[in-house]
């Protein structure tokens, strides 16, 4: 029996995708100087739908994002500032969704717990 309402399931899936994306972006920042390393990311909407359809949090598929304008002689195309900006934005979205999810669950709890 699914206790979560559809909107809450969407928020839960979004949190999982944001979490996976945070890990990928951290990997980009860590490998900004690794020869041959290409930046990785995921398409958010596709990943969200994939997680919602399958109910599996690990079904989001990351992909290599090649940016020719950033490519250097060591075959690394990571722009550190760009990746940091993405990481901050992703983190903000994660925390905001977390709080909204918490508020929604809180209202559900209050409604069900009133004597």
């Amino acid at each position: 029996m699914e206790i979560l309402r559809p909107e809450q399931q969407v928020m839960q899936a979004a949190l999982e995708v944001r979490s996976t994306r945070a890990e990928l972006l951290a990997g980009n920042v860590a490998n900004a100087d690794t020869p041959g390393y290409v930046a990785r990311d995921l398409k958010f909407t596709d990943a969200l739908n994939s997680v919602l359809d399958s109910g599996d949090s690990s079904s989001a598929t990351p992909e290599a994002v090649v940016s020719p304008e950033n490519m250097r002689y060591d075959r690394n195309d990571i722009d550190l500032n760009q990746q940091m900006a993405k990481a901050y934005e992703n983190s903000l979205n994660y925390v905001a969704t977390l709080k909204l999810y918490g508020d929604s669950m809180g209202r559900l709890r209050s409604a069900t717990s009133s004597s």
């Binding site: 979490s19 996976t20 945070a22 890990e23 990928l24 972006l25 951290a26 990997g27 980009n28 920042v29 860590a30 490998n31 900004a32 100087d33 690794t34 020869p35 390393y37 990785r40 690990s58 989001a60 598929t61 990351p62 550190l80 940091m84 990481a87 901050y88 983190s91 994660y94 925390v95 977390l98 709080k99 999810y101 918490g102 669950m105």
Partner: protein
């Protein structure tokens, strides 16, 4: 799962960049070492990074490690200095192929990478704390 991985990834980068900075410092310190334990002038040390995937699955981030320390094979600079004890018959001394200006720029970039990974740790920490806050 992911939050813990992020700490590991960022930590691996902090370590790698730290090692890189140590090598740069060593290069700078030996910019004038015409004699080294290997014989001949000091050879510039170059770090080689390699990514360390957490597992075989595609959806995890990659850490990084210092895979090797290479010696710069560039030919030493020949400087005319007959008074130098290490000068050869024609008065030429082989100086290390270390450009201090380049090393300083490299050092700044390593420090910037280090700082960026530190920010990632801080961001992940905040997100983890807010996640725990959900629990009543």
């Amino acid at each position: 799962m992911s939050i813990e991985n992020i700490f590991g990834i960022a930590n691996s980068a902090l370590g790698a960049q730290s090692q890189r900075m140590t090598l740069i410092a060593q290069n700078l310190a030996n910019a004038d070492s015409v004699q080294s334990p290997d014989g001949g002038p000091y050879q510039r040390r170059v770090p080689v990074f390699e990514s360390t995937p957490l597992d075989d699955t595609n959806d995890s981030g990659d850490g990084v490690k210092l895979a090797a320390v290479m010696r710069d094979q560039a030919s030493p600079r020949q400087v005319y200095d007959p008074s130098n004890p290490f000068a050869d018959a024609s008065g030429m001394v082989k100086e290390p192929a270390v450009n201090p200006l380049y090393e300083m720029v490299d050092m700044m970039q390593a420090a910037r990478s280090y700082q960026a990974n530190l920010s990632i740790v801080e961001t992940a920490r905040t997100a983890a704390l807010k996640t725990i806050d959900l629990l009543k």
